[in-house]
Amino acid sequence: MNNLKKYAKGYIRELTTLLALAAIVVIFSIIAPRYLEIGNLMDIVEQGTVNGFLAIGVTCAIITGGIDLSVGSAMAVCVVTCGRLAVAGVPPVLVCVIGLALGAFIGLINGLLITKMNLQPFIATMGTNSVLRGVAYLITGGWPVLNIPSSYRDIFQFSLVPNLRMSMIFLILMAVIYSFVLKRRKTGIYIYSIGSNEEATKLSGVNTNRCKITAYMLCSMGAAMAGMVTLARLGTGEPTCGEGYELNAIAAAAIGGASLAGGKGTILGTVLGALILSALKIGLVVVGMDTFYQYIATGLIIIVAVYFETIQKNLSKIMGKKKA
């Protein structure tokens, strides 16, 4: 019992996010009961999947106290590369392996820029974002890659149970693996501790550069997964894809409790954050809200969701009678 309480306490932030998600679902269901149909709910999950992959990745970068603005373009590079390979008849599983490796490579470059060249993550990844977009265009000459074979698409699109696609299972799998790495492997612990106090971590004999590079590699591998899922979802690989997605991913992480100051954030929270964003988006479509108002609603939700964090912190402060 006591143990359970302790356990729940460790997940209090995630519970709040879950609550917020529930609130959004309830509100939209009241306005439009159709929103609550299982098919629609699964759509929320499905449409949150791509952003989920990106956001899980970005969370790793954010926990180190950095950021990655290049995930959208990294995703596009993976989309066109994997698309080309799949069309060329490379076995689908191999395509996925290559895609992930490519993601890791992109992350490696970001990581090297940030550690070895000592650039600020924001600026460094803003630069690579532009470079990678150019690369994506060059790979296909600006044209989309068409007719992705269904053998590849099925890897992600196949439904084990109706409505439950492989892509979602992969998302869960990735979330579990990343959570495991972050919480149960030393690299993960170091990623948190770098975000909280890099100097102290370094002086504890930790190769902080390597950990940061790993974090950015994990980040871009999330982007690679997002790209591969998008490729399977659409059956077409477009070099334009993923533009601006980085902000959605960062928003999901922030809503899920990650702090851009570093040292804080969980994969579970981020996944919930991604779900909140897609629940919101679908909700606005279902109730038929005009695009202009959608901009406003999305912005407000981000602000309110993140403000939750502050309220919650204040509450626990008041309850603990502790002043900052």
Partner: protein, 493 residues
Amino acid sequence: MIRFEHISKNFPGVRALKDVSFSVRPGEIHALLGENGAGKSTLLNILHGVYTATQGQIWIDNQAVNFTSPVDALNFGIAKVHQEIHMVDCLNVGQNIALGFEKQKRGMLDYKEIYRKTDEILKRLGCKFSSQDSLSGLSVGELQMIAIAKSLYHQAKVISFDEPTASLSNVEIEKLFEVMRSLKEQGITLLFISHKLDEIFEMCDRVSILRDGTYIMTADISDITKEELIQNMVGRDVSSYAVRQKPSCVSKEVVLKADHLCGEGFSDISFELHKGEILGFSGLVGAKRTEVMRAVFGVDKRTGGDIYIKGQKVNPHSPQEALRHGIGLISENRKTEGFVPIMSNAMNMALASLSSFYKGGRLNQGLITKSFQHFGNQVQLNIMDPDYLTQNLSGGNQQKVILAKWLATDVDILIFDEPTKGVDVGAKAEIYSLMEDFVASGKSIIMISSELPEVIGMSDRIIVLKEGRMSAEVSREEFQEAVLLSHAMGEKL
């Protein structure tokens, strides 16, 4: 002048202060004394409006005050010289002093007036630097002078010092004391926290003692002896002196050798460390002892020279390489370099040795907790909760957590940079005894310390540094404060 009435303060899980009442007379230097975690800083923080008291009332000049922020207190003429020195690096000396209360003339900052006034204060304090110098290159002592200058700029009636001498050299401490005396002469009331009893006897008029958050007594300094003070502080007998309890166990075997080490700010440093030895490094603050050791530990770049470990040339390029060769370093800056604020005691303890807590491919929390219990006991941590945030521990206990971290890595050579900075007498004795146990088990220690009794009491051999160069190597027979000081300052005896 200042009256504390029934002050209590609760933190989640901790009663930091319990019903503390006493008063401070105008124009005196009043010391607050107590073990780590006794609640001294908390009491000052309440006075300055950083925390609000759970219960109780503070009176100043018979006026009930409830400051809600340090700024409130500042405006009331209550200033504080912080333990961690808060300075704005991108501003120069004068701007830092005047920060928040600049004069403007014709819509522009009146730098002429600001610099004139701050220079005047700096002169009053006998500082060698001027208001337009940049902060980079100033020593901690000099930064502290700036902090004091800031209080004077505000024309404070009360200035409190939380362990001001912890990171100062003897010379700088002397200078600080001079300044404090002159402040007292100007009728300013001073509150003073220190773990160094000699200083309290030297400086203070009266002393109040806290133990575990409760108020014990206030006494005139002339009416009380050192032993009585310690007795009241700790509630038991402790030796306040750093004296080796066990026989020295130095063997011939050289475990670490530095050969003509050069780096930023220092050059030509050569020494040997033997198995079982405590090698002291003495010198004035700014002698670059820290830098030398950072180079040995692979944090900073060496520009020349070699490091041998057990006869093998290793030249670590990074802390992890040094750690692999069995070297650990306990930094002097606990807050910024010592521990990770978001992490619990157990995790901070495990941080440097995480690889040893794997079970079945994943970190095992149970193993970590068990190890924490073991090492926590060994260093006699006061809060043994593995989930407690190190951040919320008192300074001495934070130091113990860091020590536990290195004990857990099982290194052979441990470099202590100011090991007892901000640590109370009781904990000091415990740390000393831990150091002795460490060398007794055939390991070696390099200890940088600016406290002369400590280096003299603990070391088997002392190397004195002066301005980045070796000035002397002193063997145990020659240990004397005067000798060390003269080497450190480069004067002939």
